[in-house]
């Protein structure tokens, strides 16, 4: 079964967990797993007040769809949807939601973990932390590896 249209999205809007789950689960699924990434109040020992997410949206959606397709094929799950939020987020708000539906739960756990790890390695999204003292800085991340030799 192919995933629903626009299964993977970058959006400035709040992520709706019910919509993510319900649009992923089909009658042959017995479980779904929702990964919910949220803004923490501290990072590296420093108090975080807000997080600003930026994405290269067109490429990020393409990469998220590639990762979802890889996970579906590798673990044999049902639909996988990934929604990443951009813009200014407060502590406790969700930055990413990943729904993985599957006939059985084992595959859902493996695929969900695969998706979040790969997302952090390859999807062009950045975040800038704002501290209580007003300072901001870009959070150091992963340098994506280019598969073909250069």
């Amino acid at each position: 079964m192919s995933p629903p249209a626009r299964a993977c999205r970058v959006t400035p809007d709040a992520i709706d967990p019910r919509e993510l789950l319900e649009s992923s689960v089909t009658p042959s699924d017995g479980a779904a797993l929702l990964f919910w990434g949220v803004v923490r109040n501290e990072h590296g020992g420093r108090a975080v007040q807000s997080l600003e997410y930026e994405a290269y949206a067109e490429m990020a959606e393409r990469k998220m769809q590639q990762i979802a397709d890889e996970a579906r094929e590798r673990f044999g799950t049902g639909a996988i949807r990934i929604v990443h939020r951009v813009g200014l987020l407060a502590v406790g708000e969700a930055s990413v939601g990943i729904a993985v539906a599957a006939p059985h739960r084992g595959e859902a756990y493996e695929a969900s973990r695969y998706v979040i790890e790969e997302l952090k390695r390859r999807v062009p999204v950045w975040k800038r932390e704002g501290y209580v003292d007003g300072e901001r800085h870009w959070v150091p991340g992963y340098t994506p590896t280019v598969e073909k030799g250069d």
């Binding site: 290269y56 997302l119 999807v123 870009w138 991340g141 280019v146 250069d150």
Partner: protein
């Protein structure tokens, strides 16, 4: 030929803009664009010698040949999730 160069996050802060049109000689590769942007005195002089780059929405090695109208995005270390 002219390629569109896109800059995000810390690279955009350096560039002072999210996008630059860069004229390059025919046959230029991504590495030539990087060298051009890193030339002394450029606001992007401090970007890595081998940055992660996407050409037309896919990660591409520095040896990739460019064509007129290509979109070349400079991708600082990613931190989504």
């Amino acid at each position: 030929m002219v390629v569109r160069s896109l800059f995000f996050a810390s690279f955009r802060d350096l560039a002072g803009t999210g996008e630059l049109a860069v004229e390059l000689p025919a046959g230029a590769r991504v590495a030539d664009l990087v060298a051009h942007l890193r030339r002394p005195g450029s606001p992007l002089a401090s970007i890595p010698e081998r940055p992660a780059v996407a050409v037309n929405l896919e990660y591409a090695p520095l040896g990739t040949a460019l064509a007129d109208g290509d979109v070349v995005a400079f991708i600082p270390p990613v931190a989504g999730g």
